[in-house]
Symmetry: C2
Subunit: 357 residues, 2 copies
């Protein structure tokens, strides 16, 4: 099947670029002897997770319980779930999952740790726990190394859970000085752990952008790159990534040329979201017409200023659009077509399981 | 089943509020003798479309061919599709759909009209066409009444299509003076049509916000309210709608209280999108803690400043969040639970058909 046989909009991933991205990140981390535990929230596709594992990744990272269930169902047996799991139904699901998969879950309070312990006790399984540290991201996480120690000690005394280590989330656009903050927090925490006789097998920090800065905190054992499989326009802003490394694109069709300077294509915010609308970079990049400015999107229409394009796109023409933020495109999509050149080589359903987290 | 038995995040719609919203809009339009052709892109749920029809709506409006197919499959036989349909596959699907459903499709160029005519000729069906007019929205649409006449005349000469009328799209936040612009465009167009012996059975304009301003252009026969079924925080900003009229909510759970002033709940931009982030109104409203400010969202976390809340939300507490923009929540969701009080009365899959448009 030729890529032009797809109805538009269609999500496509260039398999050559995808494979290169996976290999390059793995080699980069192998060289530094840091385990790669890719975050699959970017793609939510078991087949891509297995490509990452085959390249050398040590397990995967998930952001929702449903993602972890989907990865476990595809045979993946080492999962880090970076989310406080709360509520009876989810605790039961987690306890069940832990009976057949090695899973470590981030927690930032004794309430959450005790809930997991009770559920796992009831089910007869063991859940690994890592203490989430707030090293400046100001989202979740315990606020100090002392609080990290206190929670680790509580966990060590609870049944059916096993203390596995620490992790931190960087926040959105990481700032200069961020690595120093993580370094100081981790160093103090690990010192306190050593005095307390606690061993952190998992010491996890950074995502794609910060990984590419090649600055690492004390004691790190593994890292969680996610966006590097696909990249996107926001990652290009924040890192050395290039347009050529963007593996995920949206195939669209020009449906209207209502004015000399305007072209309208058949995908909008319900395909791309409006992520990055505040960055002054437009809402997408049209590969075939790099001079076009995608200045706006309504729900199902993309609006491009084509006044600088020669030739200008025509009604019926197919175009390839690089999104601002691939991870939201994943959540809005259903299926990704893997392409090799102009041929479709594979079709991957996105295992998003709706918003069932 | 009690609403608290749902895993969170879960999309819920208050059926009493939904029914009231539908009845109130229908009565408002009945009084003005303007046909109501609700836009189903807001909900994408056939059962809600049938509630709208039962209340008195004249057919439905769709924004994608896949939405139209889903509505037709549920037995709805009068559809306006406000999108230029382009490309061989989609033209075939449209021609097939027209064989079993009365469908009118918006077009703004002779290229698109001719494509539809050819496909319908090949299939032996007839597709209704309405000329889309750009009355200031600056998206799609012919730019002048003269261009509207010219396209209507071309359509009238084509086989297997039938000229049905005109429509216009208002653009996002409609400005003062917008109705006068539509009025002038429609008045001139309908005068030209009358001289040319053309009859516009459909004269369609306005969506929820402008409908509630109660200003109408010359010749209008029908209108396309969409958001009125659910409302949301952005509609409250733009219209007399109130928080109590917001039917769609997202049930969430507080998963972290990492600081005195901060509460984190278990849904973020992959549930809500970040629509309205630029409006200075935060990213959602927590019904149980109206003083909380939802100041940020990461992909799966909602961040609330709870410094003004007394009492403050606790880990494990369930909260009800009114979204900024319901239509994107629909596209990110899979299932909506219909609630009556605290009981779940029905479960509706969202017929989004992925991004297959």
């Amino acid at each position: 099947m030729h890529v032009n046989d797809l109805d538009t909009p269609a999500l496509t991933v260039d398999l050559d670029v995808l494979e290169d991205n996976i290999q390059r990140m793995q080699a980069f981390l192998d060289e530094r002897k840091i385990r790669c535990r890719p975050h699959i929230k970017t793609h939510k596709i078991p087949a891509i997770a297995h490509m990452q594992l085959k390249a050398g990744a040590k397990g995967v990272t998930c952001q929702t319980l449903a993602e972890a269930e989907a990865m476990a169902a595809s045979g993946i047996d080492d999962i880090l779930l970076c989310f406080n799991i709360v509520g009876r139904n989810k605790l039961e699901r987690l306890a069940r999952l832990a009976a057949r998969t090695t899973i470590a879950v981030a927690v930032d309070s004794d309430i959450v740790a005790r809930g997991i312990s009770e559920a796992a006790t009831g089910y007869g399984s063991t859940v690994g726990l890592v203490v989430e540290c707030d090293t400046g991201g100001r989202r979740t996480g315990v606020p100090t190394p002392q609080a990290s120690l206190a929670l680790a000690q509580i966990i060590s005394g609870l049944p059916a859970v096993e203390f596995r280590g620490i992790m931190t989330y960087s926040g959105g656009f990481p700032e200069e000085g961020y690595n120093q903050a993580v370094d100081a927090f981790f160093r103090q925490t690990l010192e306190l752990f050593a005095k307390g006789g606690l061993r952190a097998e998992i010491v996890s920090a950074h995502a794609t952008v910060y990984i590419l800065r090649d600055q690492w905190p004390h004691g790190i054992t593994e890292t969680r790159p996610g966006m590097y499989v696909y990249y996107d326009r926001m990652k290009i802003l924040q890192s050395p990534a290039t347009l050529e490394q963007c593996a995920l694109t949206v195939r669209c069709t020009i449906v209207s040329r209502p004015a000399e300077d305007r072209a309208i294509f058949d995908a909008g915010r319900k395909t791309f979201s409006n992520e990055g609308a505040d960055l002054g970079i437009g809402l997408g990049h049209i590969v075939e017409h790099p001079e076009a400015a995608v200045y706006g999107m309504s729900e199902e229409h993309g609006h491009a200023d084509v006044s600088s394009c020669h030739p200008k796109p025509e009604v019926g023409e197919r175009v390839t659009v690089i999104p601002n933020y691939a991870s939201l495109v994943t959540s809005l999509g259903e299926v990704v077509y893997g392409t090799r050149g102009e041929r479709i080589e594979t079709v991957w359903p996105i295992a998003k399981r709706g918003i069932i987290h």
